[in-house]
Amino acid sequence: MSIVEHRDRGPLDRNELAAEVARAIPSGSYVNLGIGQPTRVADHLAATSGVVLHTENGMLGMGPRATGSEIDPDLTNAGKIPVTELPGCSYFHHADSFAMMRGGHLDVCVLGAFQVSVTGDLANWHTGEADAIPAVGGAMDLAIGAKSVFVMMNLFDRAGRPKLVPECTYPLTGLRCVDRVYTDYATLYLDANGPAVVATFGIGVAELSQRLGFALHPHTPSKMGERP
């Protein structure tokens, strides 16, 4: 067993979760952080990490959020929030930006999710409700583009239902595309044998398995990052 159970504490809060994801990003990686919660990961990347952030609206080397006189309406991230330049940054048009993504040049992307299946299917763009206005943005491109796709989310929704599921019920964003799932209660890698637990927070593996309703197996380091 190589699972680290952190039972002497509660589940991770949002910042701790963002820090956990940031720690998992190899130094020197080219990374795209999705809109919303994944954006927080940037706050936890060490300046010395050498991580280069990509934003799909056409920039590599994106810096922190702009404040005060730094705000420039021509310089925003994909969430349309004003950001800054870092030395060595570059700009490009949208087709090049998505070619960079689809072409497999990005090392990691971090996305939020409504649901992830144990085989790595991702649902994060549509609630499926009849009156919901569909808006996909770059989610489908991101899901299939990066070399590694990390999802960060709460493991259970507000009603207590698991968001890591045997099969997604929400409309899919991509098939078998998620490699790792970082959540408040556990970090899991989705390998060929199903969900492998790396660490738990505020819960033991047995109880976690019971709440999720399916079996979990310990992560085997040699299979790290293997796609199902």
Binding site: H93, R102, V136, G137, D141, I144, L172, L175
Partner: protein
């Protein structure tokens, strides 16, 4: 050869009812507001508009939608916190929507400008946006056939243009401008500054003058714009 128009209203006078119009911008960055406002005054109707979004707030593209001039919108991300104009039209069934993954939207525009009829892409495979699309397994991976998205007119915003139509952009306001310029029969660029040929370093030109039919300087203090 590029024509330098006196006003944005003159620049958009080529647009006709029923045209497909590519409109640059990602949210407000790179949105050609002066040209969109001129198109609203020009009054063309039954338009198909291609943009990443479906309007923000009450100005620009949102105002064009509110004026009832747009029959159909092709975009990747219509729903935003300030997209109430579109949301209302859509819920009342008064506008058609085609949602396209952002990378497919960009590549469909690029393909149109490059003379490519269609292309296979893995984006969207296995999703409801793949419904009815031709698929093909290439190197063991399923791909979808996506068709080029050509247009009658493109409205784009650039930072600086020279008198032969070469353009450069500013920061992330570049976004869809360079590809949209290539994909329309008639591209209209609003710029902040018009300069003489040679004033833009040839190594730095992003959109070449061959793609631009009309240019107009839309900054109020832009004396250099007057032809």
């Amino acid at each position: 050869m590029v024509t330098i128009a006196e006003t944005a209203d003159d620049a958009v006078s080529v647009i006709r009812d029923g045209d497909t119009v590519l409109i640059g911008g990602f949210g407000m960055a790179g949105q050609p507001l002066a040209l969109i406002d001129a198109l609203r005054r020009h009054g063309s109707r039954e338009l198909t508009v291609v943009n990443n979004n479906a309007g923000n707030g009450d100005g620009g593209l949102a105002a064009l939608l509110a004026a009832g001039q747009v029959r159909r919108i092709v975009c990747s991300f219509p729903r935003q916190h300030d997209s109430w104009v579109f949301d209302d039209l859509y819920r009342r069934g008064q506008i058609e929507l085609e949602v396209v993954p952002q990378g497919n939207l960009a590549e469909r525009i690029r393909a149109a400008g490059a003379g490519i009829g269609a292309f296979y892409t893995p984006t969207g495979v296995g999703t409801r946006l793949a419904d009815g699309k031709e698929t093909r397994v290439i190197d063991g991976r399923e791909h979808l056939l996506e068709f080029a998205l050509a247009a009658d007119v493109a409205l784009i915003a650039a930072h600086r243009g020279d008198r032969v139509g070469n353009l450069i952009y500013r920061k992330t306001a570049r976004n869809f401008g360079p590809i949209m310029a290539t994909a329309a029969r008639h591209t209209i660029a609003q710029v902040d500054q018009v300069v003489e040929p040679g004033d833009i370093d040839p190594e730095c030109v992003v959109t070449q003058g061959i793609y631009v039919q009309t240019m107009v300087c839309t900054l109020s203090d832009c004396e250099a714009a007057r032809p």
